[in-house]
Point group: C2
Chain length 299, copies 2
């Protein structure tokens, strides 16, 4: 399997199992299950869960061992988009080419479906972890992975970045603040995904450190790419409205650094990320190819 096929393979496993947590929903509240599944199955790259599974393999485990944590991270990512789209926050009507959750299920249900996705993510990770309670080593590793993901989603991770982002709409952010937003709003979950997968796979200290640095470069590059595509991208291909950042007066890389410098920074981060993992040779192929797949082709 080459890396593109591998990514497809991970994506397929994830998409085949998206209802893993929503199946738990009781009949009396089944609409929340539908609302959850609506947003979960709206497509998307599935980058974060693919990172969980590939990092698990990189560290010596089987991708399937990390499946529940991979799903959980996709649930958390989905809840964050769902709440971000709400009228009180970004007020978006379109997400991945479809009406946003609150447009279909109403605002009350969209809030609760977001909450339910986050709760279910934690629930499935912990249940999966407890299943391994008698296998001391894997049990510990799954607890560490669960902790990693919960920390990445929290106030010193994604939510912290979201808050700073929302609070600074309409203001020109300092470079430090922009860095904080990007590192947390997007970066934290990408780092968390890689670290969680690595834990489950039985990572060494050195591998973990390298993967963490790799993921933090990847996460920042990924966000800069998103900022660039919001200006230069193709709405139909992206499945979302273009120019929303500018409409919402968000501070983005192109706004603060200019387009040319943003692209330079993006390429620099990609190179740095590749450099870190090159010493691992073939084992790192998927991660290195991932960086290459993400590159922005000049028009």
């Amino acid at each position: 399997m080459n890396s593109a096929e591998k990514f497809k393979y991970y994506k397929q496993i994830i998409e085949d199992n998206l209802d893993f947590g929503t199946k738990l929903v009781h009949d009396q509240s089944k609409n929340v299950g539908e609302a959850m599944l609506y947003s979960l199955s709206a497509g998307g790259k599935r980058l974060r869960p693919a990172l969980v599974m590939s990092a698990c393999e990189f560290a010596g485990g089987k991708a399937e061992d990390a499946l529940v944590h991979a799903l959980a991270i996709e649930y958390i990512h989905t809840y964050s988009l769902l709440h971000d789209d709400l009228p009180a926050i970004d007020n978006d009507d379109l997400r991945r080419g479809r009406p946003t959750n609150h447009k279909v299920f109403g605002e009350a249900m969209a809030i609760l479906a977001g909450d339910a996705l986050l709760n279910t993510a934690m629930d499935i990770m912990l249940s999966d972890t407890v299943k391994n309670i008698d296998c001391q080593d894997l049990f510990k590793r799954k607890v560490l992975a669960t902790r990693e993901i919960s920390r990445a989603a929290g106030v010193n991770g994604m939510i912290g970045g979201q808050v700073a982002d929302v609070e600074n709409e309409g203001k020109k952010a300092s470079k430090e603040l922009l860095q904080y937003i990007h590192e947390n709003k997007t970066g934290a979950m990408i780092v968390g995904a890689v670290r969680a997968g690595a834990f489950i796979g039985g990572t060494t200290e050195e591998e973990l450190e390298d993967l963490t640095r790799f993921a933090s470069y990847l996460g920042l590059a990924f966000q800069i790419r998103d900022d660039i595509l919001d200006i230069e991208g193709d709405a139909a291909k992206l499945g979302k409205n273009i120019g929303r950042d500018i409409e919402l007066e968000k501070s983005t890389y192109p706004v603060i650094y200019g387009m040319e410098e943003s692209k330079r920074k993006f390429n620099e981060l990609n190179d740095a990320a590749i450099n870190i993992l090159e010493k691992y040779g073939e084992r790192a192929t998927f991660f290195i190819d991932l960086i290459k797949m993400m590159s922005i082709r000049e028009k």
Copy 2:
């Protein structure tokens, strides 16, 4: 210490440590910390965290061992109230005698502060658990407690009940649906609190089973009491508006069963709860007194 003093003691520990998780908030997003703390420190009975700590003691542990999980459950309870109060859901202006979170911090921040409370709850429980990673027994017990709380908050617990409640506003619920809502919206977290504390304290199977039955009666009784007080209570004492259930056309015990039958059911549940724990003699004093403290005095 008699039971009233004991409750006060638990309450004090909780209130002294409410900022345990909000202290983690980064300077760049410190407003979310303030919003979280605003709702956390708005008062309230602190019943759920007191149950975590008392169940831990009942099962042979120290109350302080369960402190982080007790705080986490209060964070989760607070997030659920905060989101319930939002304009799109119950649209409440007043909670515990103060303006609701979105009235003070705006709707966007209130949504994110709720999310942050839930995330932080998971984060502090898992960090606390991982701290005990080298003490195999306590580590396992804390994982089980964390799982218990996450399950109680999830789609087969609190969120499930919230969804069914919101979806059935304005309709007369069947008795089965009312039972489902009460067992989940309120009951699940009360059962979860007791079971989580019991795990941390090192409970036996039999104790766990008895405590679970006790807590499920307590939870239902507690919700019926709430329904009754929404009609017969004193707004000033409760710190919230009276008659909101009727305004929102919620299905409550008095609506479905009538007031007299509701009070009969309430007393019956209290008696049943006491019966289960009587065999434990003095060890159960706090729980039994708790039931007595909760009783509704006739006007």
